[in-house]
Symmetry: C2
Subunit: 477 residues, 2 copies
């Protein structure tokens, strides 16, 4: 593909992107293909000679789109939002063009420096503790991870190293594995599955703690668990608190948890993957109170801040903890600037890294904070609009509280009827949602996921839910 062909194909692709968004309402939000559908549409060998662009371009509609779950569709209400935006797409073109692997400052200074700067910008926008600034007197700083699950894992591994080293200071002959058997981590029953998974990868003991009636982990629950475990001779070392759980968007009490963690000298990590973006609005920032006690904090700009996946923003109070866990230095990577600017490969699981700060930079500048705040406010307003519909219909009830852009609701009555409802809604196909469960209660989740979702879409979503509920109730009674 030469320059001219690329330019022509690129222009065609730009138009495709615009049309995709413009006409997305004509598509079925959730595809109705069966597993294995694509094999019938493609040859079973790669081509030996180049194919024409036109053929490939046609295959986007013929092969790919029939099996796409349209996360950009205004009627997509599943999981949580995943962002993309024109500025983010433009930034990724530049990132793909430069294609450095920014594992060290020297491997591409701009890749490291822009990341340091935009992560500092976010500290100020979100009023995060100053200890998270790269310019703070300590060793704090921010880094872009791929996903919140990686951020959690990085935090767990850092804390694990710190506590194992501490145990070995006391008993130098102690084996790592034996030191490990003493460590215990905590999280709530409502935290994301990737937290438990991080504990499994770290191979540490862990306890899944109960929450209060608002699905929030409380300080006294944590304190009780810690006391019990210390009595057993264990060393509590890590807590992952969640702000905005995946199931029902509940908020752990980070103020209480943070105080316990400080008193008990335990690493506190806050996972605010989804809700974190809202903290750019002053009125939601109090939800983050307690972050001043955290050793690490993470949220995903790729969820609600218009940055295309993957961009997970993580800060640490002391980057030495993570560097100590990971640093290994071969000759071919030595350079002279390590003390002034971070070598980010020591801050993450993978070795190489893309130039991801570009998309954060493009988005922050081309949207501006005010517009990003407005998007979040508007989405939450839409959620409350849907909440109204639910509250005004005596067949339904709200589950939990609508704080962000997620409405959890259910038909009053059995779980079975609600299982039937969600199945029927997704079979109907006009909107797409996923269900969840807290303890014994099964419910539906309506999550506002796109900036194209508007008032009339919420009216429509309610119409669909209400109609399908009519049918479900009719056929059940």
């Amino acid at each position: 593909m030469n320059d001219e062909e690329f330019e022509a194909a690129g222009q065609q692709m730009l138009k495709y992107v615009i049309d995709y968004h413009k006409n997305i309402r004509e598509r079925r939000v959730m595809p109705d293909v069966k597993p294995g559908f694509m094999r019938k549409l493609l040859p079973d060998h790669a081509p030996h000679t180049p194919e024409k662009w036109d053929l490939l371009f046609k295959d986007i509609e013929r092969v790919i789109m029939p099996g796409v779950t349209h996360w950009r569709h205004p009627h997509f209400y599943a999981y949580y939002a995943l962002s993309t935006s024109y500025p983010a797409i433009l930034a990724d073109i530049l990132s793909d063009t430069i294609t450095c692997s920014g594992f060290s400052w020297a491997s591409c200074p701009s890749c490291t420096e822009l990341e340091v700067i935009v992560m500092d910008w976010l500290v100020k926008v979100m009023d995060l503790p100053e200890a998270f600034l790269s310019t703070s007197p300590g060793h704090g700083g921010g880094v872009i991870q791929g996903t919140a699950s990686e951020a959690t894992l990085v935090a767990v591994l850092s804390a694990r190293t710190k506590f194992i080293n501490r145990a070995k200071e006391k008993s130098p002959s102690m084996e790592n594995g034996v030191a490990l058997t003493k460590l215990i981590a905590y999280t709530s029953r409502q935290s994301h599955s990737s937290v438990e998974r991080a504990y499994k990868i770290a191979l540490v003991k862990y306890r899944i703690l109960d929450t209060d009636e608002k699905q929030a982990l409380r300080g006294d629950t944590l304190k009780k668990a810690i006391d019990e475990d210390r009595a057993k001779g264990l060393t509590p070392f890590f807590v992952c608190a969640t702000l905005g759980t995946t199931s029902s968007c509940a908020f752990d009490n980070c103020k209480e948890i943070g105080i316990v963690c400080e008193q008990e000298d335990i690493w506190m990590h806050i996972d605010a993957a989804y809700a974190g973006s809202s903290f750019i609005c002053p009125e939601y920032r109090p939800l983050l109170d307690g972050v001043e006690h955290a050793d690490s904090f993470n949220f995903n700009p790729h969820k609600w801040l218009q940055v295309a996946f993957d961009c997970s923003a993580m800060w640490m109070k002391n980057s030495n903890d993570i560097i100590q866990s990971f640093k290994l230095e071969p000759v071919y990577l030595k350079h002279d600037n390590e003390d002034i600017m971070p070598d980010y490969r020591h801050w993450q699981i993978p070795f190489g890294r893309r130039f991801r700060s570009l998309k954060l930079w493009f988005v922050l500048r081309l949207f501006g904070i005010k517009k990003l705040q407005n998007i979040i406010r508007q989405d939450i307003k839409l959620a409350h609009k849907f909440e109204e519909y639910i509250r005004n219909d005596p067949r339904f009830e709200i589950f939990g509280e609508v704080i962000m852009a997620l409405v959890c609701f259910r038909l009053k009555g059995s779980n079975e009827i609600n299982e039937k409802l969600i199945k029927s809604i997704n079979e109907d196909g006009r909107i797409h949602m996923v269900p969840s469960r807290v303890d014994d209660t099964f419910f539906l989740r309506l999550s506002i996921c796109t900036t194209r979702t508007q008032n009339h879409d919420i009216d429509f979503a309610w119409k669909v839910v209400s109609e399908v509920a009519d049918n479900v109730l009719k056929t059940t009674n």
Copy 2:
């Protein structure tokens, strides 16, 4: 940014991409900025209101480019190649537009299915064992990881789970940490630092084994270590063999290692991050012999196969091993198709994932295998051309063997003089290389990194090396 603004900005960006490549020779391959340079060029706060595209676009040249190490520059000979290409850029525009998070089949069926298909294509192109095909009777299959370091870690964690479970079958009350103290893994002194790092993350014991005179790990060395460790009561469980080491592009003897691993019932992982792409050429495929003994195999199409970073191709003989390590199932992720198509979140460290198979698909179709083979052959030919220059100059010597597109060489004499040489070459700035060291020998690495590097560039590189060597030798004597 509305549709029209996006189209205009996108067109400007496409032209920028073309011009960047066209005029890249006018840029200094390695920037001459000092750490912290960018802070002076940018405000210390994110803007409150949207900025104009034109301003941001100008900042690419004003702020970003002065600090870019140009991996695309024909005079960039450092590390190993990182690919990008027009087809890959186009595919990423589409991927950013769809922005699904393909953690399950249902979250975007096309994202999973295209990955299964193109990974099967590569099995056939590279003549990999049939057990790696998704259609094989076992539980084999391929998955796209972000980096080779993640692939190694996934392999180590899978093997660790398998062996801990085995130990606990015998002694059900044994603690994970205690089982861990028995496990020992191996790799050679020449493997990438990320292998040792994966062992540290897994917290397993490991031994770094010596290599033969060609920097290759041999079967008897491994066997001896295993015997010694078994005699100590340890359980050898994992070997990472490398095909194409980072230091000097050496090849471990996978045939010998594989036989030992089979006899000893140990997990064999092959890391061919860089050299793996060459196995699409029948004449280089014999270097991969022994892969039939491997439990997992990995190479990076983003290194040498024209796919933009990140795209690391990994295959496993039995995906159940990895699924067992990671699987945790919340209600909101349940769907009905799990047995027919993989839920790739169980195959990797992160939870979410981008639609990365698109760029592999675009590249394979728009280049075709023949052209990709030609690129590899041409790069290796250029390496041999540079090798000729070195061999014909009595001041220099080749280190190791030129097998792929990497030439390791040095001035005959002390390490100090070679340290001076590489420092002077990089200060000179006309070309960029990094050095390495094997045992006590310090040497320079010339790695062909871009498809734009041509015969006359090699002549030029030699001219620079030769001139700088003249000066270094003059001032030293």
